[in-house]
C-alpha cells in the first residue's frame, strides 16, 4: 500500500509508455494491432485515475499521493521530480484519461501511418497527464512542451488540407506561450531559488508585495504577467484565439477531441494554479481587465459562430465563447465563480469531445462539413442526428446537461461582484441557442441531400462511446457534487 501511495501517480502518468514500447516493435503494416495496443495502453491510466479519484480524501488540505525525488541541482538550487494531486488535479487527470480513451476510440478512421499516430497519441496523453500531476514547475514545463511537440506532429501528419499552415500557426503561438512560461519559471527560480510549488507559495506568502523595492515589484509583476500571457494563449483568451480556430478546423477530429477537451484546459488550470494560486493579490488587480476580455470572448465567439458556414468552425467559435465564460468565472474570484469555471472546464471537455466524435463519424460518411452541402441527415442517420442534438443541447446550456450547471454557477459568481458584466454576458446564452440551433437544423433537418442516400448510420462501436459521453454529461448536469466535493479545498485555497 505504501509503495502504491508513492508510485500511483507515476504509474498513471507513464503507463501509456508501455504501449509505446510495444508499438515500436510491431510491424508497420498491422493497422488493427496498432489500434488495439493503443487503446489497451490507455486503459490502465484511466482505471488508476478512477481509483485515485474515489480514494481522494476531500477533507484533507494539501497534496495527496505525492512522490518527491531529488532530480538534479544547479549550483545551490535543487530541483525535484515531484508529483502530487489535489481535488482540481484529480478531476483533470480523470478527464484527461477518459477523453484520451474516447479520442483513441474515435481514431477508428485514421488509416495511414497508424503506428506513428498511436505512438504520438500515447505520448500526448503522457504529456497532458504529467502537466496535471506535476508539483514542480520545471517538470510541469517539461510535460507542457511534450504536448506541444506531439500535437504539432499530429496536426501536420494527419490534418486537413491546410494542415501545414495550421501546424505552424499552432507551433508559433504556443511556442511564444512556452517562451513566456519559461521566462516566468526561470525568473521564479532566480527569485525564490526553488521551483517547488508549495515552497514558492510559502515564499510569496511571507513576502509583502507592497513593501518590496520598486525593481523587485516590477520583477514579480513581470513573472506574474508572463504566466498569465502563457496560459491566456493556451486557453485561449481573446485576442489570442486565432490559432485555436485553425487547429479546430484543420487537425484530425479525434485529436481535436483531446485538444478542445483537455489541452485548452491546461490554460485554465495554469491560471488557477500559478496565476491566482501564487499571486492572489496581483490576480485581484487584473481581474476586472480579465473579465472584460472574457466578456469580449463570449460575445465575439458567439456572434461569429452564428455566421460560420462550416460545422467545425461553428464549434470552434463556440469554444472561444465557452472559454470566455470560464475566464469571467475565474476572474470573479468568488467561490461560485471559481467552481463554475472548473465545472465549465470539465463540462466543455465532455461536450466538445462528444461533438468532435460526432464530427469524425459525420466526415467519414459525408466527406464534408460545409453546412450548405449537408441537410436532412435525420432521415439517413437517425442515431447520429439524435446524438448530435444532445451535444448541441449541451452546448447551448440546456438544464439537465452539464453545460447548464457550469455556466449557471459561473454567472452566479460573476453576478456577486460585477452584475453589469454578468448581465451583458448572459446575452451569450441567447446567441448560443441561436447558433447551435441554426447549425443543428442545417445538418439534420430540411431537404435530404440525394447524394447521402446510401450512407449508413453509425454502428455500435461508434454510438456506444458517444452514449457514454452523453451519460457523463447528464450525470454532471444532475448531480454535479461528484466533482464539487473534491474541489472545495482547492477553491478555498486558490480563491
Amino acid at each position: 500500500m505504501n509503495a502504491l501511495q508513492h508510485w500511483l501517480l507515476s504509474l498513471i502518468v507513464f503507463a501509456p509508455l508501455v504501449g509505446l514500447l510495444i508499438l515500436a516493435v510491431l510491424p508497420s503494416r498491422k493497422t488493427s494491432w496498432h489500434r488495439t495496443i493503443g487503446l489497451l495502453a490507455m486503459l490502465p491510466s484511466l482505471a488508476l485515475c478512477i481509483y485515485l479519484y474515489q480514494r481522494l480524501d476531500n477533507g484533507a488540505s494539501g497534496l495527496q499521493w505525492t512522490q518527491k525525488v531529488e532530480w538534479f541541482h544547479i549550483g545551490e538550487m535543487k530541483l525535484f521530480y515531484h508529483l502530487g494531486v489535489d481535488g482540481l488535479s484529480a478531476i483533470m487527470l480523470l478527464l484527461t484519461a477518459s477523453i484520451s480513451l474516447f479520442a483513441g476510440i474515435a481514431s477508428l478512421y485514421i488509416t495511414t501511418k497508424t503506428k506513428l499516430y498511436y505512438s504520438l497519441l500515447l505520448l500526448l496523453e503522457v504529456g497532458v497527464l504529467g502537466v496535471f500531476a506535476s508539483q514542480n514547475l520545471l517538470l510541469f514545463f517539461l510535460f507542457f512542451e511534450m504536448t506541444l511537440v506531439t500535437l504539432f506532429l499530429l496536426i501536420s501528419g494527419w490534418g486537413g488540407l491546410e494542415k501545414k499552415k495550421a501546424s505552424y500557426m499552432f507551433l508559433l503561438y504556443n511556442g511564444f506561450g512556452s517562451a513566456f512560461l519559461l521566462f516566468a519559471i526561470v525568473g521564479l527560480l532566480a527569485f525564490t531559488s526553488t521551483l517547488e510549488l508549495d515552497q514558492i507559495k510559502a515564499v510569496f506568502a511571507q513576502v509583502d508585495l507592497g513593501g518590496l523595492p520598486p525593481e523587485a515589484t516590477t520583477f514579480v509583476w513581470g513573472i506574474f504577467l508572463s504566466f498569465m500571457i502563457a496560459f491566456a494563449i493556451k486557453l485561449p483568451v481573446f485576442p489570442f484565439h486565432t490559432w485555436m480556430l485553425k487547429v479546430h478546423v484543420e487537425a484530425p477530429p479525434p485529436v481535436v477531441m483531446i485538444h478542445a477537451g483537455v489541452l485548452l484546459k491546461m490554460g485554465a488550470y495554469g491560471m488557477i494554479r500559478f496565476g491566482a494560486g501564487l499571486f492572489p493579490t496581483l490576480f485581484a488587480q487584473i481581474a476586472t481587465g480579465l473579465m472584460i476580455l472574457g466578456l469580449i470572448g463570449i460575445l465575439y465567439g458567439a456572434v461569429l459562430a452564428f455566421s460560420q458556414k462550416e460545422l467545425k468552425s461553428v464549434i470552434a467559435y463556440s469554444s472561444v465563447s465557452h472559454m470566455g465564460i470560464l475566464v469571467i468565472g475565474l476572474a470573479s474570484l468568488t467561490e461560485a465563480g471559481m467552481q463554475g469555471a472548473i465545472y465549465q472546464a470539465v463540462s466543455h471537455g465532455i461536450i466538445s469531445a462528444l461533438l468532435f466524435f460526432l464530427v469524425t463519424s459525420l466526415v467519414e460518411r459525408t466527406r464534408t462539413t460545409e453546412l450548405i452541402e449537408l441537410g436532412g441527415l435525420a432521415k439517413q442517420l437517425p442515431i447520429l442526428s439524435g446524438l448530435l442534438m444532445v451535444g448541441a443541447m449541451g452546448l447551448l446550456g440546456l438544464p439537465g446537461l452539464s453545460g447548464f450547471v457550469s455556466e449557471f454557477i459561473a454567472f452566479l459568481g460573476v453576478y456577486q461582484v460585477n452584475p453589469q458584466i454578468a448581465i451583458i454576458g448572459s446575452l451569450g446564452f441567447i446567441i448560443a441557442a441561436a447558433y447551435t440551433l441554426r447549425a443543428l437544423l442545417k445538418v439534420t433537418y430540411g431537404q435530404a441531400v440525394t447524394r447521402f442516400q446510401h450512407v449508413q448510420d453509425i454502428q455500435v462501436r461508434e454510438w456506444l462511446p458517444m452514449l457514454l459521453l452523453v451519460i457523463l454529461s447528464i450525470w454532471m448536469g444532475i448531480d454535479p457534487d461528484w466533482i464539487g466535493n473534491q474541489l472545495q479545498q482547492t477553491i478555498q485555497i486558490g480563491g
Binding site: 517539461l142 508559433l172 512556452s178 526561470v186
Partner: protein, 509 residues
C-alpha cells in the same frame, strides 16, 4: 647553456600534444612510403589511435597541480584540461564519422591529408588551450585556422568547396589581422605578450590615467577578430558558405572545435589580460553593451535567416550562429564565477548535438547525393533510427525539454538572470528560440510527414552508427540527468586558469 634549459623543462607535461604529433608524423611517413595503389582508408585508425592515446594522457594528468613550462607560455591548469578533453572527444567522434565514406569517393586521393590536417588543427586547438601568452595563443589559433582552410577546400572537384576554401582563407586572414592590429595598441601600452603581465600593467594604466580609449578601441578591434572565429553576427557571413562547401565532418569540426577554441581564447584574454577593465566603469558603460549586442544580433540574425534556407548544412550553420549567441548572453555578466559551469555545460551539449546532426547529414547526403531539405523526406520510413536520432538533435538544438540543450539554455539564462542585468537578452533568447522552432520542426516534419523518395534503408557504416549512438546517449543522458555533468563541472577549479602560478601556491598555503 641551451641544453640545461632543455633539461629543466618538464617535457612530460606535453605528452598529449606529442602523441598527436607522433600520429601526424606516422601518417605522413606511411602515406609517403605506401604505394599509391593501396587504399588509405584505414589511416583513420592511426589518427584515432593517436587521439585516444592523447586522451589517455590528458586523463592521467587530471588530478593535477597547475604547472607552467616554456617560460610561462605553456600552462597546464583545470581550464585547459577541460577544453582539451572537449577538443579530443569531439575530434575523435568527428573522425569516426569521416571514416564513413562512399565507395570510390573522389576525395579518397587526399584521404591521408584530410586526417593529417584534422590532427594538426586539433593540435593547434590544444596548444591554444594551454597558452597564456599572446604569441603562443596566436600560433595555436593559426595552426588551427590554416589547417581548417585546407580542410574546407579539400573537395577540389567541387566548385562550392573551392569557393568556400577561398572565402575562409580571406575572412580568416582579415580576422587575424584585426586581432593583431588591436593587440598592437595593447603591446604599445604594456610592452608584453604575457597575459598576466599585460593584466598588471593595464591595471596601472587604468588607475593612473582617466582615458581608457586606447584599451577600449583595441579590445573592440580584437573582438571583431574573435567574433569572426566564433561566427557571431554581424561577422558570420563566412559560416554558411564555408559549412556548405566543406564536407560534413569538416563542417562539424569548424562548428565545434574551432568555435570552442575561439571562446576559450576570448575567456582567457578577457579574464586574465583585461581583468582590470572588468572592475572599471568602462566595462559597464561600453564593453558589456558591445558583448550584449553581439549576442542579441547573433540570436536574431541566426534564427531568422535560417528560416529561408533550403540546404540543411546552411540551416545548421545559421543555427550555429544563433547557438553562439545563446552562449554569449552570459558574457556581459562575466564578473560572476557561475559562467564557467554554464559555458562548459553548454559547450559539451553543443558539441554533442552538433556532431550528431552533422553526422546524420553526412550519412543521408552520402546516400541522396545532396544536402537539400528534400533529402530528408520520409526518413522515418527508410531508417527510423536515424530519423528519431536527428529529431532528438534538432529538439536539443531548439531547446525542447528532456534534451541536454534545454538544460543548457535554462542554466545559461538562469545564471544571466542571477546577475541581475540583461533580462532583455534573456527575452531575446526566448523569443528567437520560438522562431527557431520553425526551421527545426520543418526538418522534423519532412522526416515524419512527407513521402519518402525510396524504400531503401539509408546505408550507414558501423563507425557512424557508433558516433550517433554515443551522442544520442549524451544528449538524452545529460537532458534527463544533468547532474552527471554539472556536478563534475562544478568541482573543476576554474579560477586556477586565471591566476598566476605563485598566486595558486599562496592560495594553497
Amino acid at each position: 647553456m641551451m641544453n640545461k634549459v632543455f633539461e629543466q623543462i618538464e617535457w612530460s607535461l606535453l605528452t598529449p600534444e606529442t602523441t598527436i604529433i607522433a600520429g601526424i608524423v606516422l601518417l605522413l611517413l606511411t602515406d609517403l612510403v605506401l604505394p599509391a595503389s593501396i587504399s588509405r582508408r584505414w589511416f583513420g585508425f592511426i589518427g584515432l589511435a593517436s587521439i585516444l592515446g592523447s586522451l589517455a594522457f590528458v586523463v592521467s594528468q587530471l588530478p593535477l597541480k597547475p604547472a607552467e613550462i616554456l617560460f610561462g607560455t605553456y600552462r597546464l591548469d583545470p581550464m585547459s584540461l577541460v577544453f582539451k578533453l572537449l577538443f579530443l572527444t569531439a575530434t575523435a567522434l568527428i573522425l569516426l564519422v569521416a571514416m564513413d565514406r562512399k565507395k570510390g569517393d573522389k576525395t579518397d586521393r587526399y584521404i591521408a591529408e584530410e586526417y593529417i590536417l584534422m590532427l594538426s588543427a586539433l593540435l593547434g586547438a590544444m596548444f591554444l588551450a594551454s597558452s597564456v601568452d599572446v604569441i603562443t595563443l596566436f600560433i595555436g589559433l593559426e595552426l588551427l585556422s590554416i589547417s581548417s582552410y585546407i580542410l574546407v577546400g579539400m573537395r577540389k572537384h567541387e566548385r562550392l568547396s573551392t569557393e568556400a576554401g577561398w572565402k575562409y582563407v580571406i575572412y580568416g586572414g582579415v580576422s587575424s589581422a584585426f586581432f593583431l592590429y588591436g593587440y598592437s595598441f595593447l603591446y604599445g601600452l604594456s610592452g608584453t605578450t604575457n597575459l598576466f603581465t599585460l593584466g598588471q600593467s593595464l591595471a596601472e594604466v587604468v588607475q593612473s590615467t582617466q582615458s581608457d580609449l586606447f584599451i577600449v578601441a583595441s579590445l573592440c578591434l580584437m573582438l571583431v577578430g574573435f567574433a569572426f572565429k566564433i561566427s557571431l553576427a554581424p561577422f558570420h557571413m563566412w559560416a554558411p558558405d564555408v559549412y556548405q562547401g566543406a564536407s560534413s565532418p569538416v563542417a562539424s569540426f569548424l562548428a565545434v572545435v574551432s568555435k570552442a577554441a575561439g571562446i576559450l581564447f576570448l575567456i582567457r584574454f578577457l579574464l586574465i589580460g583585461m581583468y582590470p577593465l572588468l572592475r572599471s566603469e568602462v566595462w559597464g558603460e561600453n564593453i558589456m553593451w558591445a558583448l550584449a549586442i553581439l549576442a542579441a544580433v547573433s540570436m536574431i540574425v541566426g534564427n531568422t535567416v535560417a528560416l529561408r534556407q533550403q540546404n540543411v548544412k546552411r540551416i545548421l550553420a545559421y543555427s550555429g550562429i544563433a547557438q553562439a549567441g545563446y552562449l554569449f548572453i552570459i558574457f556581459p555578466s562575466l564578473q560572476s564565477n557561475l559562467i564557467f559551469v554554464s559555458v562548459g555545460f553548454y559547450l559539451v551539449v553543443y558539441m554533442l548535438m552538433t556532431i550528431g546532426a552533422f553526422a546524420i547529414v553526412h550519412v543521408v547526403s552520402k546516400d541522396t547525393g545532396n544536402e537539400e531539405l528534400t533529402s530528408f523526406d520520409g526518413l522515418v520510413r527508410r531508417s527510423p533510427g536515424l530519423a528519431i536520432a536527428m529529431t532528438l538533435f534538432l529538439f536539443s538544438l531548439a531547446g525542447i525539454p528532456l534534451t541536454a540543450g534545454f538544460i543548457g539554455k535554462v542554466n545559461l539564462s538562469l545564471n544571466t538572470f542571477a546577475s541581475g542585468q540583461m533580462w532583455l537578452l534573456i527575452s531575446t533568447l526566448l523569443v528567437t528560440t520560438v522562431i527557431s522552432y520553425y526551421y527545426y520542426f520543418r526538418i522534423v516534419q519532412r522526416m515524419f510527414v512527407e513521402k519518402a523518395t525510396s524504400d531503401q534503408k539509408v546505408p550507414i557504416s558501423f563507425f557512424s552508427a557508433l558516433t550517433i549512438l554515443v551522442v544520442v546517449l549524451g544528449t538524452i543522458g545529460f537532458g534527463i540527468m544533468p547532474d552527471l555533468l554539472l556536478s563534475k563541472l562544478e568541482t573543476v577549479k576554474w579560477g586556477y586558469g586565471l591566476i598566476p602560478l605563485e598566486g595558486i601556491q599562496q592560495l594553497k598555503n
